[in-house]
């Protein structure tokens, strides 16, 4: 039987909860969002003890389905003020699922500022005082905890940014090499964990116990996963070889690459930070591509980046970081950006939020565009919690407000990803309307997707609505976004659930699972005080033409307001 544990930080009490029927077919984002809706007052201050942090593997995690090892963490976000789910690879999700843990609900706040580690093993779960790691970055934290609990521990932790409760703070998860390189990066969830006095969760598990989902037709299930794994392996070869950086040239080529604080869509030095540049570095210095971000991933788009002395610089060096701390800050030295990536992983800050914040700071004249030494200094200030560091660590919106910058690229307070919405208009609709704030993983209408022309306003509302549903389904199941936010994935999930449960689950049923969670999330946000005015891009995207294409974001507000009012595909 799968279990849910409730960890009360006030009373230092851990209880096993019965799983209500309505949670049976939920996992990942579906479960975290539903529990938040059921248990958290939408009006609560996100760093108040009454907010909760929900940690949930996907419904298919540990089932043998390919690339299904994502871990969802949810809460009311201190960054957006709305509901939040951010998911990540790493080893924790699979280990939690193997222990039969469907969710951890962290509630309350430790007394007298005492700090704790939650330790989970095959036969025990306990809160232990943390006397050694508070104040350390994620890398040293992991080192200390491995000494204490063993090298093979799977660790979920916060760095100094989470301890300081910054709105850009992440929650790190150790990767397959045991490094804290994978992060639930978005929405400041690390601040919520820090506010509760919880520094880390250590999981020690070596044997398979109950899977989250009891699979009735094991052979049938295996056949579907095997065929799907083969398909993904064959069709995602370029991601395996070159990682997410492969996206860089295309987005620059169509003029949608955020550059110089979202004032331009093409970066003149793109060749120095693209997949070619990255591949050359990895080859020359003996780094690694084709690295798995979670056990059982067949896409393997991650990497390990070494310096000239073959010393480790960073792992999981991604397109979003290369753009937002690269082109967006007009920094073209890939070694410097790799170093920034490590610093962000170590302090536990979101490379995307901080990339947007530093772009804004550059526009304000705090430092020059292209000043990589200056960026390193600012990241250190965030890590050390200086006054300037505290401002930047709160993200792009607060940074822009403090320094009077008009061009602040955020929706619902969250920094925009690396696709300019004046060029990728469907992605812009997702940024505007997703309950998560500006989030590409909520439904990214890159060229070729959704049956629409990516740079025209027509058809984007329906395309965004559908791809947001497909993406939520992936997040419920623990599936990587790169398995495909598309109807084909819905069909496969329907097949897998039918075989597992021994009852017919149609693609339409699966679509409705995603639809229902979006409705729950929007309902929470409405009750938190959000209105249609929060489903908007910053005004400058409507008025400032992007130099690369001359385009503006021209999807009408009244159409944005119909995104979830129009008929959903399952109703048609």
């Amino acid at each position: 039987m799968a279990r849910i544990y409730r960890i009360n930080m006030d009373k230092l009490l851990i209880e096993e909860d019965k799983i209500p029927e309505k949670y049976r077919l939920l996992g990942g984002r579906g479960l975290s969002s539903q529990i938040i809706m059921d248990e958290v007052d939408p009006k609560v201050y996100p760093l108040n003890p009454l907010n909760k942090l929900i940690i949930a593997p996907g419904l298919l995690t540990g089932s043998g389905a390919p690339s299904s090892g994502r871990l969802s963490i949810g809460s009311k976000s201190p960054l957006t003020g709305g509901i939040k789910e951010s998911n990540s690879g790493g080893t924790a999700s699979t280990n939690l699922a193997r222990l039969g843990i469907k969710a951890l609900i962290i509630e309350g706040k430790s007394n007298d500022d005492k700090r704790y580690i939650l330790h989970i093993s095959e036969d025990n779960i306990e809160l232990l005082p943390d006397d050694e790691t508070w104040g350390l970055g994620n890398y040293d934290t992991v080192k200390e905890l491995k000494k204490r609990f063993g090298e093979k521990s799977s660790i979920i932790s916060i760095g100094t940014a989470g301890e300081n409760q910054f709105r850009s703070a992440t929650i790190a998860i150790t990767d397959v090499d045991g490094r804290p390189s994978r992060h639930c990066g978005r929405g400041g969830l690390g601040a919520v964990m820090g506010s509760k006095g919880l520094k880390a969760i250590v999981i020690n598990s070596s044997i398979k116990k109950q899977p989250l989902l009891d699979i009735k037709d094991k052979q049938g299930f295996r056949e579907v996963t095997k065929t799907w794994a083969k398909h993904l392996t064959e069709t995602r070869k370029m991601l395996t070889k070159y990682g997410t950086a492969i996206t860089m040239n295309t987005i620059d080529g169509i003029g949608g690459l955020p550059t110089r604080n979202f004032s331009k869509g093409k970066f003149e030095h793109v060749e120095k930070i693209n997949s070619t540049a990255l591949a050359e570095k990895l080859t020359k210095n003996g780094g690694k591509s084709g690295h798995t971000c979670s056990p059982g991933c067949v896409i393997r788009c991650s990497n390990v980046y070494l310096d000239e002395n073959k010393d480790h610089v960073t792992s999981g060096f991604e397109f979003e970081t290369l753009c937002l701390l690269g082109s967006n800050c007009e920094i073209s030295d890939i070694d410097s950006i790799a170093r920034f990536d490590y610093m962000c992983d170590d302090y536990g800050i979101d490379t995307m939020e901080v990339g947007c914040a530093i772009g804004v700071a550059m526009e304000a004249g705090i430092l020059e565009f292209g000043d990589s030494a200056g960026v390193e200094k600012l990241l250190t200030e965030i890590g050390n919690g200086t006054t300037l560091g505290r401002i930047l660590g709160q993200g792009a919106l607060i940074t822009g407000q403090v320094f009077n910058v008009e061009r602040i690229p955020v929706v619902k307070g969250q920094g925009l990803p690396s696709y300019d919405p004046r060029v990728l208009k469907g992605t812009g609709v997702t940024y505007a309307t997703s309950p998560m704030g500006a989030d590409h993983t909520a439904g990214n209408l890159i060229p070729g997707r959704g049956g629409v022309e990516f740079n025209k306003p027509e058809g984007q509302i329906k395309a965004s609505r559908d791809i947001q549903v497909y993406s939520v389904v992936q997040d419920i199941m623990g599936l990587c976004n790169f398995t495909g936010s598309a109807p084909e994935t819905i069909d496969i999930v329907a097949k897998l659930l039918s075989l597992a449960l021994g009852e017919i689950i149609s693609p339409s049923d699966v679509y409705n699972m995603g639809k229902r969670i979006i409705e729950v999330e929007r309902d929470f946000n409405r009750k938190a005080g959000m209105t249609e005015n929060d489903d908007r891009l910053p005004h400058f995207f409507k008025t400032e033409k992007i130099s690369s294409t001359g385009g503006v974001f021209d999807v009408l507000d009244k159409d944005l307001d119909n995104t979830f009012k129009d008929k959903w595909s399952s109703d048609l």
């Binding site: 370029m238 991601l239 997410t244 996206t247 040239n249 169509i254 997949s275 070729g448 976004n481």
Partner: protein, 76 residues
């Protein structure tokens, strides 16, 4: 007629370390013909630009065109 094609590492259009290559095509050839000549799997191809303009696989090429072929992407 001659067109210039820009390399992309992931498509491995050019084996040598050149950034561009010139190819000879029959007058009236389109992008698909060009991809065939380069022995490039169309299913791997995403966005195509001809002289910086977004183009389709059936767009006819003309002498002196500069073509950039990007691989299919999945986001990132």
């Amino acid at each position: 007629m001659k067109v210039t094609i820009k390399n992309h590492i992931a498509l491995d259009i050019i084996k040598e370390k050149q950034t561009t290559i010139e190819v000879n095509l029959q007058t009236g050839s389109n992008i698909s013909d060009m991809l065939k000549l380069l022995d490039l799997d169309e299913s791997l191809v995403g966005i195509i630009l001809i002289n910086d303009e977004l183009s389709e696989k059936n767009n006819i090429l003309k002498d002196g065109d500069f073509v950039v072929v990007f691989p299919l992407i999945f986001g990132g």
